[in-house]
C-alpha cells in the first residue's frame, strides 16, 4: 500500500518543514533526536553515527570517498535528508568546498543517550499510589476499542454509539477529504476515505495525527510543541501510570483527545489522577516498520470466493462491505462473498484491486496466514482480472477534425499531429482525424497558418 509510506514520510516531512528555529528547539528534546534518527534512511543513520564524536566539519569529498558508484544516489538522498532535517549543518568555505558538521544539539543529545541510556521522560507513579492498573492485554483491548469506535464515528456518525469529546469542528477536520457531504443527504466516503479504511491501524493513526497537528494552530496550540509532546509521549512505557500533574494545561486538553483515539487511558485515583500510554502511543515514534503494530488477522478467503471474517467489530463489517457482499452476520463471524458486483462498486469508489488484496492478505486469519498464498491465487487473480475489465475502455479528451480542403493538407495535419504526439486516429479516405485535446490549440494555430 503505497499511501502508507507516503503518509508516514509526511510526518517527518512536517518536522522537516518546520522553520529552522523551531527545528533546533525541537532538538533540545532528546526523544525527538532519537525519533528523527530512527526515521532516517540507513546510510544517513551511519553518517550520523560516525560523526557522533567529531566536532570539526567533514568535507563532503572525503565522505564520498566511501561511496561506491552504484551507491551515489543513495548517498545523495541521505545527505539531502540530513540537511533538510538540519541534522547536518552545511558549510561552504571560500574554496567552494562544502563540508558538513553534526547539529551540536543533536550531537550532544545522542552522546548523552549513549552515555546514560534512554531516560524515560517522567517517573512512573509508584504502584502504591496507583490502584487497579489495567494489564497490558486490557490496555490493548481498550486502545483498539477506542480507536474503532472513533473510526466508526468518523466514517458513519449515525452508527456511532458513544460520542467522542472531539469538537465537531475537529471531527470535520478529520473527515475533510475522507467524507464528502452533499447538502441534505448522508455523507458518503470519498475515494481517499475508502483507501483510508483499508490501511493498517498505524497508517490510519498517522493520518489522523497529521490532520490533528496541522490544524493545531487554529486551536491555539503550537505545532512544534505538539509534535515534540507527541513524540515524547511515545517514549513512555506502555502500561505504566504517569501523573497528570506533570503536564501543562494545554497538554492535558490534548490528552482528552488522545484518550478518544485510544493512545492513552486516563484514570482517576483517590486524589491523584494519571494517564497510561497504550501501545498505539508508544508506536507513534516508531517508523511504520514495526511488526508489533500489526494486529491479529481475522479473514479467511476460500477458493470459492467466500470470505469468513472472525470478528465482532462493526468496523470490520463496514470495511468488508466495501468490496464484498455480506451474507450472514453471526455474533463473532461475518460471512461474505466476493462477487463481481461488489467488486465493481468498490472499484467505482476508487479502491484498487491491489488495496483489496493486500488488505485480505494482511488481515489473513493466522490459520491461513502461514500458508502461502494466504489468499487463494485464483481469487486474487480474478480480482485483478475484474479490475482490468473496467479499464478496457480508456478515455482521452480529444477533438475531431474533418472537411479538410485537400488531401495534402490533411496529410500535413496528420504529420503535424503525429510529430506532437497527439494523433489518436485518422481516416485518410474520408479525411478525418482525431487529436488529443491538449494539442488542440497548437493544431488550430497550425491549421490557421496553413490557411494563409
Amino acid at each position: 500500500m503505497p499511501q502508507v509510506k507516503i503518509i508516514a514520510k509526511n510526518f517527518m516531512d512536517m518536522v522537516a518543514a518546520l522553520p529552522a528555529l523551531k527545528l533546533d528547539m525541537l532538538y533540545d528534546n532528546g526523544f525527538i533526536c532519537e525519533a528523527v534518527l530512527r526515521s532516517l534512511p540507513p546510510l544517513a543513520k551511519k553518517y550520523v553515527l560516525q560523526m557522533l564524536y567529531i566536532d570539526n566539519s567533514i568535507p563532503a569529498k572525503s565522505m564520498e570517498e566511501w561511496v561506491l558508484a552504484e551507491g551515489l544516489s543513495k548517498h545523495k538522498n541521505a545527505i539531502d535528508r540530513l540537511t533538510q532535517l538540519r541534522v547536518f549543518l552545511e558549510t561552504v568555505d571560500r574554496k567552494k568546498e562544502t563540508s558538513y558538521i553534526l547539529n551540536p544539539k543533536f550531537q550532544s543529545n545522542l552522546r548523552k543517550y549513549l552515555m546514560y541510556g534512554g531516560v524515560s521522560p517522567r517517573e512512573p507513579m509508584p504502584s502504591s499510589v496507583t490502584v487497579r492498573l489495567p494489564s497490558l492485554e486490557d490496555l490493548e483491548a481498550y486502545a483498539l476499542e477506542q480507536w474503532e469506535s472513533f473510526l466508526l464515528q468518523l466514517i458513519s456518525p449515525s452508527q456511532a454509539d458513544k460520542p467522542t469529546n472531539f469538537s465537531s469542528s475537529v471531527m470535520k477536520v478529520f473527515q475533510r477529504g475522507l467524507l464528502s457531504q452533499r447538502d441534505k443527504e448522508a455523507p458518503r466516503l470519498t475515494e481517499k476515505g475508502f483507501q483510508f479504511l483499508l490501511m493498517d491501524t498505524n497508517a490510519q493513526l498517522w493520518y489522523i495525527i497529521r490532520e490533528y497537528i496541522s490544524n493545531s494552530e487554529d486551536r491555539g496550540v503550537d505545532s512544534a510543541d505538539l509534535i515534540s509532546f507527541l513524540l515524547e509521549l511515545s517514549f513512555h512505557v506502555a502500561g505504566e501510570a504517569y501523573n497528570l500533574n506533570t503536564l501543562t494545561e494545554v497538554q492535558r486538553n490534548t490528552f482528552k483527545d488522545l484518550a478518544d483515539l485510544g493512545l492513552v487511558k486516563l484514570q482517576q485515583g483517590r486524589k491523584e489522577s494519571w494517564f497510561i500510554p497504550t501501545k498505539l502511543a508508544t508506536n507513534l515514534s516508531v517508523s511504520l516498520s514495526d511488526s508489533s503494530s500489526r494486529k491479529q488477522g481475522f479473514v479467511v478467503v476460500e477458493t470459492n470466493f467466500r470470505t469468513y471474517a472472525y470478528s465482532s467489530s462493526k468496523l470490520h463489517c463496514e470495511i468488508l462491505r466495501l468490496f464484498s457482499r455480506v451474507e450472514y452476520q453471526l455474533p463473532n463471524l461475518i460471512v461474505g462473498a466476493i462477487t463481481k458486483e461488489s467488486l465493481y462498486s468498490a472499484f467505482q469508489n476508487g479502491i484498487s484491486s491491489e488495496q483489496i488484496i493486500s488488505f485480505l492478505q494482511q488481515n489473513a486469519h493466522p490459520r491461513v496466514a502461514e500458508r502461502t498464498p494466504s489468499v487463494p491465487e485464483n481469487v486474487t487473480d480474478q480480482i485483478r482480472l475484474w479490475e482490468t475489465d473496467l479499464n478496457r475502455v480508456e478515455m482521452t479528451p480529444a477533438h475531431l477534425y474533418d472537411e479538410f480542403p485537400s488531401k495534402d493538407v490533411f496529410e500535413a495535419a496528420c504529420d503535424y499531429a503525429r510529430d506532437n504526439g497527439g494523433l489518436l486516429w485518422d481516416d485518410s479516405k474520408r479525411m478525418r482525424l482525431v487529436v488529443k485535446a491538449e494539442i488542440h490549440m497548437q493544431m488550430r494555430e497550425y491549421l490557421r497558418r496553413q490557411k494563409q
Binding site: 477458493t303 487463494p376 491465487e377 485464483n378
Partner: protein, 483 residues
C-alpha cells in the same frame, strides 16, 4: 539376466506403501490419458491451486481422530535415522572417507522418465534436484569431479566428462532434456566404466544412477558388467523413482553402493543429497597415495596475462600455476597446461570436517524429561530457544554424548548437517582432550582384552566417561591410564 526388470513389470516389489501408492497413481494416469484431464472434480484452473494428495498430510491418532502430521518431528526422526545409519558403521572408530571422488551421475532419460507421477514429470524433477545436488556436491567435496551421462533409446551418452565446475555441468544438463526409448544399465555402466578406469587409484570411483525405468534392455549380460565394475572398484549407487528393481539392488550390493527408492519429490531430494557427503572408504578399495598439488599464488595487482580458461587478458586477480606459470581464473582446477591440480588451502580445509565427524547426539529419554527431581537445562545450549513447550512440558531434546549439553531439534540438525562441530564441546576447554587421543588408546586396550561386545558398550557412551566406567570397571583402568 536383466529380465528381472521385465518380470518386475508384473509384480513390482513393494519396498513400502509408497510404491503401492505410486502404482495406484500410475493407473490413474492411464485413465487421465484417456479422458484428457484427471477427474478429481477440480476445474483445470483450480487444480493448480489445490495441493496434490492432501490426505497424506493427515494421520489418525490413538483416539481415531484425524489430525495433521507433525511434519517437523517426522522429518527429524527420519534425519536421525539417517544419521544413525551413517554413523553406525563408524561408531567403533573414525573411518576414512573418500575425499577425492570421481563421480559419474547417470540420468535415465528413457520413456519412463516422462511419467507424470512426479510433477510435472520425473525428468524435470530429476533435473531440478540434480542441479541442487551438483552444487551441494562441490560445496562438500571441493577436490572432487563430476561427470554426466544420460541413457536414452537404450544407449548411454556422455553429456559432460569429469570436471570441477558446477555451472558447466548444470548448463549441459538443462540443455539436454528430452526422453525416449528404453534404458540400458549395461550400456551406461560400460561407458562409465570405460571413463573411470583411467582415474588414478587414489581417486574414489563412483556412479550415481537416477533411474526412472522399471526395466533395462541390454545388449548383453549385465551381470558380467556388474562384476567388471566391482573389479575396478567402482561404487555404484542407484536412486529409483519407480518401484524397487532387483537388478539395481544387486548392482548396489555388489559394488558397495546404496540403493534407495523415492516415495515423492521431497523424499527423492533427500535421498539424492545423501550422496553429497563423501562415502566411507571401503577397506579393500582404499588406496592411500600422495597427490601432487599446486598452491598457486594470487597474481599481483597490475599483472596482465591471458588466462588459459577464457583466453582473454585479465588484469590482476587470477592465479598462476606454480609449475608452468600458466594463468587460471578460479580454484580449484586442473592446470590447463601441465595438468597439475591447483587448490588453495581453504579448499583442503573444507574437507577437514569429514576427517573429524561429530558423534550423533543421543535423544534424551522421555523418562528423564518428565520426572521432576531431574533438573534439565531449560534452554537449548546452541540457540537459547526454550526447550519447554508452552504447556511447560518439555519437548524433544538431544544431548551431546561428550559435553552432555542439550540441544533443540533444529540445532541438532544444523550442527550435524552444516556446522560440523558441537558448540558444547567447543566451548568447554577440557572436553577437548578426549576428543582426539583417548578413545584410540581405550580401544587399543580393549582390543588387548578382546572384549568386543564390551567395546561397543563404551562406544555408545563415548566421551561420557562416568557412564562408561560405571558400566565396566575394567574400562575404568584404561580411562585413568589415558588421562
Amino acid at each position: 539376466m536383466s529380465g528381472i526388470g521385465i518380470e518386475r513389470r508384473f509384480e513390482p516389489r513393494k519396498t513400502n506403501n509408497g510404491d503401492e501408492r505410486r502404482l495406484a497413481v500410475d493407473g490413474e494416469e492411464e485413465e487421465e490419458d484417456d479422458d484428457g484431464g484427471n477427474g478429481k472434480g477440480l476445474e483445470a484452473w483450480e487444480r493448480a491451486y489445490a495441493d496434490e494428495r492432501s490426505w497424506e498430510s493427515l494421520q489418525e491418532d490413538e483416539s481415531g481422530l484425524l489430525r495433521p502430521i507433525d511434519s517437523k518431528t517426522l522429518h527429524h526422526a527420519q534425519y536421525r535415522r539417517r544419521l544413525r545409519s551413517l554413523y553406525s558403521s563408524s561408531t567403533t572408530s573414525r573411518i576414512q572417507k573418500g575425499l577425492i571422488r570421481y563421480l559419474y551421475i547417470v540420468i535415465d532419460l528413457s520413456r519412463a522418465a516422462a511419467d507424470m507421477d512426479f510433477r510435472p514429470s520425473r525428468m524435470v524433477v530429476v533435473a531440478k534436484h540434480a542441479e541442487v545436488f551438483i552444487r551441494e556436491f562441490f560445496d562438500q567435496n571441493p577436490l572432487s569431479h563430476i561427470g554426466l551421462v544420460t541413457i536414452k533409446d537404450g544407449v548411454a551418452q556422455c553429456l559432460t566428462d569429469l570436471g570441477g565446475s558446477p555451472e558447466y555441468h548444470v548448463k549441459a544438463l538443462m540443455g539436454k532434456l528430452e526422453c525416449s526409448g528404453d534404458s540400458s544399465l549395461q550400456n551406461a555402466l560400460d561407458l562409465v566404466h570405460g571413463y573411470l578406469n583411467q582415474i588414478p587409484s587414489y581417486g574414489h570411483r563412483e556412479v550415481l544412477i537416477l533411474y526412472s525405468a522399471l526395466s533395462t534392455c541390454d545388449p548383453g549380460d549385465v551381470m558380467e558388467t556388474i562384476q567388471k565394475c566391482k573389479k575396478s572398484k567402482i561404487r555404484c549407487s542407484v536412486v529409483g523413482l519407480s518401484a524397487e528393481i532387483y537388478i539395481c539392488k544387486h548392482l548396489c550390493e555388489e559394488t558397495g553402493g546404496s540403493y534407495t527408492v523415492a516415495l515423492d519429490e521431497s523424499h527423492f531430494k533427500e535421498l539424492l543429497l545423501e550422496h553429497a557427503p563423501p562415502p566411507p572408504a571401503i577397506a579393500e578399495f582404499a588406496v592411500a597415495n600422495l597427490i601432487k598439488m599446486g598452491f598457486p599464488q594470487r597474481a599481483a595487482e597490475g599483472v596482465v596475462s591471458i588466462c588459459v580458461c577464457h583466453k582473454e587478458a585479465k588484469v590482476g586477480g587470477g592465479y598462476t600455476c606454480p609449475r608452468c606459470k600458466a594463468r587460471v581464473c578460479e580454484l580449484p582446477t586442473e592446470c590447463g597446461i601441465c595438468g597439475l591440480t591447483l587448490v588453495s588451502s581453504p579448499h583442503l580445509a573444507r574437507s577437514y570436517h569429514h576427517l573429524f565427524p561429530i558423534t550423533p547426539f543421543d535423544e534424551v529419554p522421555s523418562s528423564l524429561l518428565n520426572n521432576p527431581q531431574h533438573r534439565l537445562p531449560r534452554f537449548c545450549f546452541g540457540c537459547r530457544q526454550s526447550l519447554l513447550h508452552p504447556g511447560n512440558k518439555s519437548s524433544f531434546r538431544a544431548a551431546c554424548p561428550k559435553c552432555n549439553q542439550h540441544f533443540c531439534i533444529d540445532c541438532d540438525i544444523y550442527i550435524h548437517e552444516s556446522l560440523h562441530n558441537c558448540p558444547g564441546c567447543e566451548s568447554l576447554r577440557h572436553s577437548k582432550t578426549p576428543r582426539f587421543e583417548s578413545h584410540g588408546t581405550i580401544f587399543a586396550a580393549l582390543e588387548v582384552l578382546n572384549m568386543q561386545d564390551l567395546k561397543r558398550g563404551v562406544v555408545s557412551h563415548m566421551g561420557c566417561w562416568a557412564l562408561a566406567c560405571t558400566v565396566f570397571d575394567s574400562v575404568l583402568k584404561f580411562k585413568i591410564l589415558t588421562d
